[in-house]
Symmetry: C2
Subunit: 152 residues, 2 copies
């Protein structure tokens, strides 16, 4: 796989951040994600919808993956997410052979991105201030909801 261009990574992260902001505007948890194909095509995008749909499975990465529909394979695809993926969404990436994960931040939550890297997934960990601020503010204002979302 070609190395990821920094500008492309930034543009892809912007899609995930838009999703996170949309979720926040709906009263939800501000985590967004998008799945891109090997050629840069946007395959699916989504955000956490625990609150909006009353659905505990609708983490951002799962929502983006679902939006991409049924596919014969995921080789060369990239999952971009505003936050380090939890075990559930890390498992998704590993099971379906998604090749790369771009993570907006892992400061407010350290998920399974190291595990993914150890199992052959290319992990690009950004230190995006907006992603961090979105989650930090949200967790401070809604600690119980956040703990529910990660099963703590």
């Amino acid at each position: 796989m070609e190395p990821l261009d920094v500008r492309r990574a930034g543009a892809w992260l912007a899609t995930a951040v838009e999703e996170a902001r949309a979720g926040l505007a709906e009263g939800g948890i501000p985590i967004g994600a998008a799945l891109y194909g090997a050629d840069g095509t946007l395959l699916g995008r989504g955000h956490n919808r625990r609150v909006q749909d009353g659905d505990p499975t609708m983490h951002a990465e799962t929502a983006a993956f679902r939006a991409a529909g049924r596919r014969p394979g995921y080789r060369g695809t990239t999952m971009v997410t505003t936050l380090s993926p939890c075990w559930y969404c890390s498992g998704l990436v590993r099971q379906f052979g998604i090749s790369r994960v771009v993570v907006g931040e892992a400061v407010t939550f350290h998920g399974g991105h190291d595990w993914l890297a150890a199992h052959g997934v290319e992990v690009v960990l950004l230190e995006d201030a907006e992603c961090t601020a979105l989650m930090r503010d949200f967790i401070e204002a809604n600690p119980a909801l956040w703990n529910e979302d990660i099963g703590e």
Copy 2:
């Protein structure tokens, strides 16, 4: 947590098998699951709906977890599944702190149940002939669909 009674395990597995059969009757992949509370209450049940809903996230365990709705925690709960959980559904169990997993069979697919056991989840691995036959027949007749479901 109390040790799981064999008859209870059998009754719970029967629910998951009913789900798997229902999925097969709908033209879907015959994997079923159910989430039970610490007191034995059925919290949610479901089956794989990749084909039925065109939704690649609807693995059986995810469907059962979703059907159980939003919950503050999963301590003491048991996920019963006809088939060893893939990485995605194993990640679900680990992330949300589901205490126990009852697996119908791990012959046709060896998922993440060892990993779960290594991380403190109680794993009860049954060797259920009906679960194995359901999947063996299905995989033989639909290899491409099965490979799609596990990202291979």
